[in-house]
Symmetry: C2
Subunit: 143 residues, 2 copies
DNA sequence: GTACTTGCAAACAGTTTGCATAGGC
DNA sequence: GCCTATGCAAACTGTTTGCAAGTAC
């Protein structure tokens, strides 16, 4: 679990101002397991706080990446998904429901070098049908 | 090594017409190790065959994915890269030169299921500085 | 008070689409 | 000759940018 307040404190330490918009984005994102897109973040925040714009959402996402509090997932070519969980783990993209899910199962990955290239990070993306959608399908067959 | 002719034959078998444009895209792509974007394919082909349009490039890429002769890589959010090598392997994105390189080193990955989700495919993307760029940097330091 | 941040709208890049015309088989 | 494929331009989507006005500190 990540405390939104510690992220806000980090922002202030790094010289970023704590505007209500930024606070809203941080509070919405932290501990969010949905891996939302910028568009989803914008639409969700709009409901609660009508004074949030697209540029501010993008601006805040940019900053949160810079200070290493979120990661951008390129699991779908269409739009970027954002993940507040920064510890190493993987992701599963369900081709039926479109949801992005965490995969915690361990995969052994070289940590610093691979084939003479210096690594700074890596991502593992799995694609298929998620357990939830498989359950639904089973039910439909039984009908 | 993949023979462009076998891909062309497959296209014909599946009922797709072998237009000069499609042939050009297939010949350009097969055995290409650059993981080009649609835009790059378009610009390269233009030089040789001025009668190629964007829509045709995209159309052909779509078809080649359908018949499993190329894979789309979402290694960069900006634009899709395409890979004619369909056997399992991984990719490295150099943050300095922007090139996408093959990584053949083996990584053990579950093949059919992960955490109760049914797998259809997966991708491993590494990010960092490639061996070529590291060499260049070393030379610069020695100057 | 001042520099940073915001909201807006316009710009931009990559991709997709609709449709009249061309051409593979 | 038929039916699919092409080229063009326009539409569309996600993201970025420029700038005047607002606001955290």
């Amino acid at each position: 679990m990540k405390n939104p307040d510690s992220v806000l404190a980090k922002l202030r330490t790094k010289g970023y101002k704590l505007t209500p918009q930024r606070v809203a984005v941080v509070k919405y994102l932290m501990n969010n397991k949905e891996h939302p897109t910028a568009d989803l973040i914008y639409r969700k925040l709009r409901k609660k706080y009508p004074m949030v714009s697209f540029s501010t959402v993008y601006n805040t996402l940019e900053i949160l990446q810079e200070i290493d509090e979120i990661k951008e997932l390129t699991i779908s070519q269409k739009s970027a998904h954002f993940d507040p969980k920064t510890e190493p783990h993987h992701h599963f993209f369900c081709e039926t429901c479109g949801k992005v899910r965490d995969v915690l199962q361990n995969v052994d990955i070289p940590s610093q070098w691979i084939e003479n290239h210096r690594l700074s990070s890596y991502q593992i993306y799995f694609y298929g049908i998620c357990s939830e959608c498989l359950k639904m399908k089973k039910k439909e067959v039984l009908k």
